[in-house]
């Protein structure tokens, strides 16, 4: 079965449209004399199997409604920036964009998770030319955006490896070291941002 039902073909199209919109925001910003807002921009549609597994894990019925309405990450985009300031600039510009509404946001940079995870999460409600689950056209779809710095992104990859390996030797020590490393990387991010502000401050 396809949990996304007849809406499945729309998802990659929407992903592509949103990526194009984000690129356009960046191009406008650069043309106005700003620095580029991200280094990497990636997106994916959550696979059928992953979405089914997630619904089961969250004890939701395995239905198209669960996939597109109860869960918000069928379409996911990651924006990876050089500096913390750029992350917040991206958030600011996405909030101003007329093609989407921010319906939920979590600032795990200001409020890092206890394990050391840092990232800024947005759930967007995007207006699309396609029919949505409620039968409306233009239709509304959720898109999850994760924004973070390169350092935060690299850390998240490392933490992901740890999480998905079921038997880790000395797991408690590794977790402690990961947290320690997250604090070191945060120190680098904040230090680089401070230096950048010192370089660019008005005379």
């Amino acid at each position: 079965m396809d949990i996304y039902g007849k809406y499945a073909p729309n998802l990659p199209l929407i992903l592509n449209d949103v990526l194009t919109q984000i690129k356009a925001i960046n191009e406008q910003h650069v043309q106005a004399g700003g620095a580029k807002l991200y280094e990497h921009l990636n997106g994916r549609v959550k696979t059928n199997d992953s979405m089914i597994e997630k619904c089961q894990r969250k004890q939701l019925p395995v239905t198209t409604e669960s996939a597109l309405r109860k869960n918000h990450d069928a379409i996911g985009i990651r924006i990876v920036s050089n500096f913390i300031d750029d992350v917040y600039k991206n958030v600011e510009l996405l909030k101003k964009a007329d093609w989407c509404d921010v319906v939920k946001e979590k600032d795990y940079i200001a409020n890092a998770k206890p394990n050391g995870y840092r990232s800024y999460h947005l759930i967007l409600m995007v207006t699309t030319p396609y029919e949505d689950y409620d039968g409306h056209r233009p239709g509304k779809y959720y898109v999850e955006i994760q924004l973070r710095t390169i350092a935060m992104d690299t850390w998240a990859s490392l933490e992901h490896e740890m999480k998905y390996k079921h038997t880790v030797k000395n797991a408690a020590i590794i977790s402690r070291e990961l947290k320690h490393c997250a604090d070191d990387l945060a120190s680098c991010d904040v230090t680089m941002q401070t230096i950048r502000q010192l370089i660019n401050r008005p005379d």
Partner: protein
């Protein structure tokens, strides 16, 4: 604490060792300056007590030799009451304190207790103010979040916390113990202040450093709590 006692008078050495041992210190004895140097190079001591007048090598020579080799162990010299020069030479050779002979055991033991208290204070590893904690051994700053600090950032922040609310001029900070040891100038200080400001903000601390480039700088606690935005 493990103590190295260098004293050539056998009777006095035995009495001192006995007294210190009963007070739960571990004591090794040397009968002359050369033995003291050899023992200090083999074992980790917390305190060294050196008599000055000793055969083979006197206490001052032994201490100079150890200091030159990089040994910084806290050292008390035993000096004769009348000899001011002994005290001066001993301190200049790198001693940290002296006791004049004849001395009472009570005084020596009180000095060792005082030293222990001081070392406890020195090794205090966390300093807190309001919602914010600095862990000096982990070099970490935490409030609702945590972040690593460099050595200089750690020490400067501890200094600012110890002197919270005071308006501190650049000169006052640079001539403090930290400023002297870190060998920083006014421009360095400004950059450390900038780093600390952003790190305090990054962990959502209620502490703030006020002051423009050049100082004076003032660490204050702002009223707002840091838990307004739930994760």
């Amino acid at each position: 604490m493990r103590i190295l006692l260098a004293e050539d008078e056998g009777q006095l050495s035995r009495v001192l060792k006995m007294a210190m041992t009963t007070n739960n210190y571990t004591v090794d004895t040397a009968a002359n300056g050369q033995e003291a140097v050899d023992l200090a190079q083999q074992n980790p001591y917390d305190v060294m007590i050196f008599d000055i007048m000793m055969p083979v090598k006197d206490g001052i020579e032994a201490l100079k030799e150890l200091r030159a080799s990089g040994n910084h162990t806290y050292t008390i010299m035993l000096t004769a009451m009348a000899e001011t020069d002994d005290k001066v030479n001993g301190l200049d050779a790198g001693a940290d304190d002296y006791i004049t002979k004849p001395f009472s055991l009570k005084e020596l033991l009180a000095r060792l207790r005082s030293l222990e208290r001081r070392q406890d204070n020195y090794s205090q590893s966390t300093y807190s103010l309001g919602d914010t904690t600095v862990d000096t051994s982990a070099q970490n700053l935490s409030s609702s979040n945590s972040i690593s600090l460099s050595k200089n950032e750690t020490q400067l922040l501890v200094f600012l916390i110890a002197n919270a609310k005071k308006e501190l001029s650049t000169t006052e900070i640079l001539t403090s113990n930290w400023g002297q040891q870190a060998q920083v100038n006014a421009a360095d200080l400004w950059i450390y202040i900038c780093y600390l400001r952003q790190k305090l903000a990054a962990v959502k601390s209620s502490l703030q450093i006020k002051g423009a480039e050049g100082g004076p700088y003032q660490l204050i606690e702002t009223g707002e709590s840091n838990d307004s935005t739930p994760a």
